[in-house]
């Protein structure tokens, strides 16, 4: 790891001010991606600004329209949270499948979203649930937030402070984990809104990162059942094709994971 200067922020405003002062600063949340990348010398921030101890950035709560998860809440805490479990149990299930137990004790929802790894789990939930990302500057709709591999709508220095999830009728997540890394070879999150609208998002599959899956959304809107997906055709165009799985394999995984997600949602 190259040399860096560590700062621990005690408020969001202080973190933003420290970022502005740094030459090439980076925010540090759980560090479960940033630190490995720094160790490989693929990132060399002049300053790292630790957000994890900012009290306003941690916790889950009910809101008038759903639930809110603060950005520095760890995967483990989300997986165990009673409010989240009552409102959207699929989110607890998703959080409990990220990485391994030690990683879940450190990694955070905000860090996962800001990084937007194409095989990360949370982007699928946020996109399928039509969540809203709150930052220190504005709110961003999920459909506008994810902009391709490791790319988001966040501006330089902008901090995700929380994610607002709306009430949903049904939601489920299923992933085929890579056997070594536990990242999703393909993961699919399905959600049915109270007005009957259906949103489906797949992670790990596309060359452009997390994506909506229109054909499965249409099939589930007409008939919310795993068998409704049987006749759907998923194009392999634009899907990842690597040593872990071909594009055709991933296209099929999208269907199979969507079916399992619907079964998990009930």
């Amino acid at each position: 790891m190259y040399e860096t200067t560590y700062h621990r922020a005690s408020s969001v405003d202080e973190a933003a001010a420290l970022f502005a002062k740094g030459k090439e600063a980076k925010y540090l949340a759980g560090g479960q991606t940033l630190l490995p990348v720094m160790k490989q010398r693929l990132a060399s921030p002049s300053d790292v600004i630790d957000l994890a101890k900012i009290k306003d950035m941690v916790g889950c709560s009910g809101t008038t329209s759903g639930i809110q998860i603060k950005a520095a809440t760890t995967h483990y805490d989300v997986s165990q949270d009673a409010t989240v479990r009552k409102a959207i149990p699929a989110l607890c299930a998703l959080a409990s499948q990220i990485g391994d137990p030690a990683v879940r004790h450190r990694g955070t929802i905000g860090g996962s979203l800001a990084n937007n790894d194409p095989a990360a789990d949370y982007p699928a939930a946020v996109l399928a649930l039509n969540a809203t990302i709150k930052t220190n500057k504005r709110t961003i709709a999920a459909d506008d937030f994810f902009q391709g591999l490791f790319s988001t709508a966040l501006e330089d220095g902008e901090i995700i402070t929380a994610v607002d999830f709306p009430v949903v009728d049904k939601a489920g997540y299923a992933k085929f984990p890579h056997p070594a890394s536990r990242f999703a070879l393909t993961g699919v999150f399905v959600a049915r809104m109270p007005d009957g609208d259906v949103r489906v998002a797949a992670t790990g599959a596309s060359q452009n990162g997390v994506m909506r899956v229109g054909p499965i959304e249409a099939a589930l809107k007409a008939n919310w059942s795993a068998s409704a997906i049987d006749s759907v055709t998923i194009s392999a165009d634009g899907l990842l094709n690597d040593i872990h799985g071909t594009a055709d394999y991933r296209a099929n995984l999208i269907k199979v994971m969507a079916q399992r997600a619907v079964q998990a949602a009930g």
Binding site: T4, Y6, Q32, P36, K39, D100, R106
Partner: protein
């Protein structure tokens, strides 16, 4: 350089380290607590697992500075004098190790697993929960046996307290 102050195995410690220093290097190189191992150095293998404020973490993927103000427990801090921790004793009795390289991390993860499940564990849960700890010798069978054995011992020990 920064002065990092934290509690390690119940003792207040202070060390002058570079900001880029990882927690595992603070423990091993500055505090001479070499029971915590560096295996893969990529947060896969779990040989470096310690507890921060009671939670298992991979100390190769935490900056020492991030742990400032926290309470860290390493493999050196779990026995009571000459009396092994029930998890250590169960690993010995069940032959849960061969070369021993992964063992400190295994034991620290395993204690965390027992705590999180309030001692209610079955074999499938233990195997699943150990996914972040890699052992290249044992084939895991005796490790799983040891964890299940220790879960019972820890319950008895807790009831006795």
């Amino acid at each position: 350089m920064s002065t990092v102050k934290l509690t390690v195995n119940g003792k207040a410690v202070s060390a002058e380290v570079e900001d880029r220093t990882l927690l595992v290097h603070l423990l091993r190189d500055h505090l001479n607590l070499t029971g915590t191992h560096v295996g893969c150095d990529t947060s896969q293998c779990g040989a470096c697992v310690v507890h921060i404020d009671g939670q298992a973490v991979k100390s190769c993927t935490v900056l020492a500075a991030q742990a400032a103000g926290s309470s860290v427990t390493t493999i050196e801090g779990i026995a009571k004098g000459d009396e092994l921790h029930p998890m250590q004793a169960a690993f010995r009795d069940n032959h849960g190790l061969q070369c021993g390289f992964c063992t400190p991390g295994m034991i620290m993860s395993a204690i965390d697993i027992v705590h999180r499940h309030s001692g209610q564990l079955d074999e499938a849960t233990v195997r699943h929960e150990l996914e972040g700890n890699i052992c290249r010798c044992t084939g895991y069978h005796n490790i799983v046996k040891a964890v299940l054995d220790a879960a019972g011992r820890m319950k008895v020990a807790q009831a006795a307290e």
